[in-house]
Amino acid sequence: MEPFTILKSRGVAVLLDDIDTDMLFPAQFCKTLDTTGLGQYLFARERYPEFNPDAANFPLSRPEHAGAEILVSGRNFGCGSSREHAVWALRDYGFRCVIAESFSDILYGNCFKNGLLPVVLPRAAVDALAQLTRTNPAETITVDLFEQTITAGGLGPFHFKIEPHRRHMLLEGLDEVGLTMARADAIDAFEKSHFRSQPWLLRTG
């Protein structure tokens, strides 16, 4: 996984609450075996005129936001379906960081597996950053995972919290599956006592 350390990029705001993963990645595009090339379907029903007559004015369609790697959004970002396609699409589109007032638990976890940093900030900070992307879309926003801060055009620094193990995984770009497999001895030992006390868990036939 690509490590995440310090990101300097312009941002784009889709300042809605409860953006669900159906909106991020409509289910009709889930008939794929891939994790790549999915950026074209991100916000498909908002971005494309066959679904939305006002598609040209959707923030991601606007030329001044081209190349933005930071998405600013509202409360409960990524609620609904657990489909990781939503995160694969955000990454493939070019996003490396989503700043929101809050996230759904499942999408929040999915972000870290894909080198995408989810940042929770208070509403006032989210609003200020969203406003900045509108009034000065070319302004650079700096996301520093070492310092856990966000600064931009005189705004901030806004400090954010992140669980230490998740921060570590992102900073180092680690493969969580490989790390856990290295703990095979601990898993073996657990299984031995677990299946001794609940032997029926192993008898699925």
Partner: protein, 469 residues
Amino acid sequence: MNLPRTLYEKIWDSHVVEERPDGSTLLYIDRHLAYEITSPQAFAALRKSCRAVRRPELTLAVADHGVPTTGCRTQPLADPGSRMQVETLEANCAEFGITYIPISDERQGIVHVIGPEQGFTLPGATIVCGDSHTSTHGAFGALAFGIGTSEVEHVLATQTLVQVRSKNLRVQIDGELPRGVTPKDLALAVMARLGSHGATGHVIEYCGSTVEALSMEGRMTLCNMSIEAGARAGLVAPDATTFAWLKGRPMVPKGSDWDAAVRYWSTLRSDVGAHFDRTVNINAYRLAPWVTWGTRPSQGGMVTGSVPRPEDATNEAEAAAIARALSYMDLKPGTRLTDIRIDRVFIGSCTNSRLEDLRAAAAIAKKGRVADGVRAIVVPGSGLVRRAAEEEGLDRIFQEAGFEWRLPGCSMCVAVNGDQVEPGKRCASTSNRNFEGRQGPGARTHLMSPAMAAAAALAGRIVDVRDFL
């Protein structure tokens, strides 16, 4: 003396492989359910890294999302994308030694229906699936939650997940459910109370006299919807109802194993004095049949009410959310809910496709005929539910009333199998999400109970099911 613990804490504690200094926990996973849409990339990643599946016998696979509900199940699927995904799942299960229920098998069905039905779902177990409605299995007192595909890979390779502990939220529901009010109405009322994100970061334990009196089907409906308030999982403490429902199912413990299991499962309840971070109380006897008017499951009310006005919202964000929802739903504030005409009816989904749900819908369906201009489909949750319903004659009741009787699958809940609501059409649906475009681009969804949906089919509009009782 041990500190009093919640049910969630007891299940969590019994699955800790190791706690790490950074605050994370390596948690053991007893059961994994896989299906065709969120698993192929996980198997591909295993293959790419030459990794094996640690315990193939603890995963059970079935195709459900993209499977058509008409036609012949022994023929290849017509849709190329779904065919590719189903064939890939079959090939992956064969390669990695995982039990797979073919779509031509009578046991096939929605993953959250067949897990309990086969007895793969057990109290006290940790259960995961790459699907948010995995919360359904919490009805059995299992810690069950949805995961992404990267975590599916992690479970396949290690039978564990790296997790952080959630908070405890108690939803205490007391009183008898009034006539015409079902577990679905209760679930929608709970979602309205909690809001779309009110349970984020929490595991809900449902308790109280109402919950204790619910059947397993009803508890599954209630736990299923937990994710719609953002909860990590929903739980009901296992009891005699749970054990009676499970006993004798193909994959449950047998003989002395069963007795030992029941003894252990009987200890799975929150201790007196256990700490809950929050408690929400609900009086069941005050409820009426419920229906959603908006584009979030929490945006609903009693069927006797009206579409709200944005200006009645308590804050600006909520007012904007109501306005956006009403625009998408093409509804005017103040419209009586029973004045809303409908075009489509969907009875099915992991929320409401079990035998009890179909019985409730059939009891209404036999009182009339599907209204002109309305197309109504009934999609059983599994082949076994379908057969049990047919043995009771429910299929004939539905068909004589003008409902279509389909083959099992997720169908019009997620609308990727060809069953979808056309743009601009309005559907009375027993599913779990009324998001924009959920049942098809431009589709408008009103969530309700099976009995309410059947009544809407007969009336051609949203109607109070109590008028039919």
